[in-house]
């Protein structure tokens, strides 16, 4: 499989409230702190992490919707970071994003048909005369009735709006779709519908999908590979099945143990991972996870952890295997 997307050591910083007298000393928050990942064409990569880890920021920086301050983003071999206007235009024609809140992702004053037609028009995907037909096709592709083109987002359900969001992404005819927590706001019975739709589209169209979520259960069903993010860095990456059965990074292990399983025999940990992710304003020195890590060694707070690459898996920890 050809590599479609290669992210190398991406860094994104935001200005934060200053400190010191009159807030004059500018502080910067490192939302993404040297993240790297790869995505092949037609592959689904799950990006998991808790709030504040920077996964949404990473996704937006990859799509050049947020400026970054370091690192490379190679889309189909071309570095988009920063990219020339022609490169960015190409990126816009070949990638699309789906958002978490199905309602706020759509312009509330536009009808569904208009929303889709506008994308087709701006991107000149089809000649103007064929736009209405294509809109109908897109709606059908995502399982919506053609009459819905006349309605506004406010009169649709959450699941239907999310399908419209997917249709809008598909209108671009992308090679890569970034789905940012796109099922989190839906009921569990509707989540399954959207996930099945994504699975089907992936098979039919050979889409690459970067699926951002905090829900490990969904990742296990939908994704081929998973990347675990903590405080702006990818701490572990690998095939889903392997990472879930034998995690190598202590944080991944803690995440997997914390999943509330519907099998009551698989109990919650007696002694769950303590504390919470610290604020990105005060990143711990050395390994970002060491203050909460059960297996931390004295050196973990001083030097950044080394990266271990074993076949398709890699993780960044002082331990090459998870200590028992």
């Amino acid at each position: 499989m050809t590599t479609l997307l290669q992210v190398k050591d991406l860094q994104v910083q935001f200005p934060a409230a200053g400190s010191g007298l009159f807030n004059l000393r500018q502080r910067k928050v490192s939302a993404v702190n040297g993240a790297s990942l790869n995505l092949a064409a037609g592959e689904t990569l799950g990006l998991v992490g808790e709030s504040g880890c920077g996964k949404s920021t990473l996704a937006r920086a990859i799509l050049q919707l947020t400026p970054s301050c370091g690192g490379q983003v190679l889309f189909d071999g071309t570095d988009m970071n920063p990219g020339s206007p022609a490169d960015i235009a190409r990126l816009r024609r070949e990638t699309a994003m789906i958002f978490q809140d199905p309602y706020s992702a759509l312009n509330p004053r536009q009808r569904i048909g208009q929303i889709l037609a506008e994308v087709l028009q701006v991107q000149r995907k089809v000649p103007a005369a064929q736009i209405p037909a294509r809109v109908g096709e897109l709606l059908e592709l995502v399982g919506l009735r053609a009459e819905l083109a006349e309605r506004r987002p406010g009169s649709l359900s959450g699941g239907q709006c999310q399908r419209v969001g997917i249709a809008r992404a598909l209108a671009v005819e992308p090679r890569l779709i970034v789905a940012d927590e796109c099922v989190a706001a839906l009921d569990v019975s509707i989540q399954g519908q959207i996930i099945n739709l994504l699975l089907e589209l992936r098979e039919r169209m050979g889409l690459a999908l970067l699926f951002i979520t905090h829900d490990l259960g969904v990742v296990r069903r939908l994704c081929d590979r998973v990347a675990v993010m903590y405080l702006g860095q990818i701490v572990e990456e690998g095939p889903v099945h392997e990472v879930f059965t034998a995690p190598r990074h202590p944080y991944t292990a803690a995440l997997i143990q914390s999943i509330a399983d519907i099998d009551p025999a698989r109990r919650l940990p007696q002694d769950p991972l303590a504390g919470e992710p610290p604020s990105p304003l005060n990143l711990p020195s050395g390994c970002a996870f060491h203050p909460r890590c059960r297996h931390a060694l004295p050196g973990c707070g001083e030097t950044a952890p080394p990266e271990h690459i074993q076949g398709a898996r890699r993780h960044a920890c002082v331990h090459s295997q998870l200590p028992c």
Partner: protein
């Protein structure tokens, strides 16, 4: 058989819209024993939150009202009490914690003050006693260094700590029943595990009874003793946790279970329940789940199934219950 701590009989929440009455929660009936954690499960529109707010008579809009036969707690019938009587009960016998701790804690008041306020009100304690009690409660909910954190403001706490603080506020008055409305939905999964552990510990240590509202069956499976499933304002099924998870008999309960990402991990596609929940002002005369039910019979469209005891301790409202084994 000991009398249950909380007995709810026929609780309904009705909204007045123009000239019509719309029933949002219909004749909810259940018991809660001492030290029992009941999981109230349902999707959006099921009425689970409204039912509990109705129980506390804290409805969010003036056009809503509570009706019912009786709601018995600690020797009182909550439906018969006037507002002053309810106020004495709220906090002292019946506590509630909410989904988003940031919006349910007063941002301008120190945490210790918020806990102590309830203690002073319901127990008539002095400021010093209430403060000492607040520190103790903070310690019990697992906040490190409670003596110094008791004077912090909510914004100085992180998300998980705020949820713990909210639990502390609810516990300060020592209620017998705690209603937890999606307490971990807004939290990260590792923090969720901590909070659920805490709730279990509180039940073990204090004998606290709880109603845990959630849409996540996993959360409910890990913490609750019994599970009640609601759909479109009515209770579909209510039974012991193991029974409900292993052998759900209502097609909706079975469907909900099957939709969980962890169910049927080897299947190529996720199970879903086709269709959407009905609009509450446009309900069919028969079973509300009928249009989405794979087992529906003509009888289901015409007659609303009543909640009946299918086996000891297991109640079900269905004309066509599933036999053991779940959805075929």
């Amino acid at each position: 058989m000991t009398t249950p701590l909380l007995q709810v009989r026929g609780l309904s929440v009705i909204a007045r819209a123009g000239q019509r009455d719309i029933t949002l929660v219909e004749r909810l009936t259940f018991d809660l024993g001492e030290g029992e954690i009941l999981g109230l499960v349902g999707e959006s529109g099921s009425g689970k939150t409204l039912a509990c707010r109705g129980l506390m008579r804290l409805l969010p809009a003036p056009n809503l009202r509570v009706e019912g036969q009786a709601v018995r707690l600690a020797g009182h019938d909550l439906l018969q009490l006037d507002e002053a009587g309810m106020r004495r009960l709220r906090g002292r016998e019946l506590g509630m914690i909410f989904q988003n701790p940031s919006s349910h804690l007063d941002p301008l008041m120190r945490i210790g003050e918020q806990i102590a306020e309830g203690i002073r009100l319901h127990q008539g304690a002095s400021r010093r006693e209430a403060r000492a009690e607040a520190i103790e409660v903070l310690r019990q909910v697992g906040i490190p260094d409670p003596k110094s954190r008791v004077d912090n403001y909510p914004h100085e706490f992180s998300g998980g700590m705020r949820q713990r603080a909210m639990i502390a506020v609810a516990l300060g008055c020592n209620p017998k029943v705690l209603i937890a409305d999606e307490p971990t939905t807004a939290l990260d999964v590792t923090v969720q595990a901590q909070i659920l552990r805490l709730l279990l510990e509180l039940r073990d240590r204090r004998g606290l009874s709880m109603i845990l509202i959630s849409h996540d069956l996993g959360v409910v499976a890990q913490t609750c003793d019994s599970i009640a499933v609601m759909y479109a304002g009515r209770l579909c099924e209510h039974g012991a946790k193991h029974e409900m998870l292993a052998r759900p008999q209502h097609p909706y309960s079975a469907g909900l279970l099957a939709c969980h990402p962890a169910a049927q991990p080897e299947a190529l596609r996720m199970t879903t329940i086709a269709g959407q929940p009905p609009l509450l002002d446009d309900l069919p005369p028969g079973c509300r789940f009928e249009s989405r039910c794979p087992q529906a019979m003509p009888l289901c469209r015409q007659q609303l199934p009543e909640l009946l005891e299918a086996s000891p301790g297991h109640r079900l409202a269905c004309h066509v219950p599933l036999l053991a084994g779940g959805l075929s």
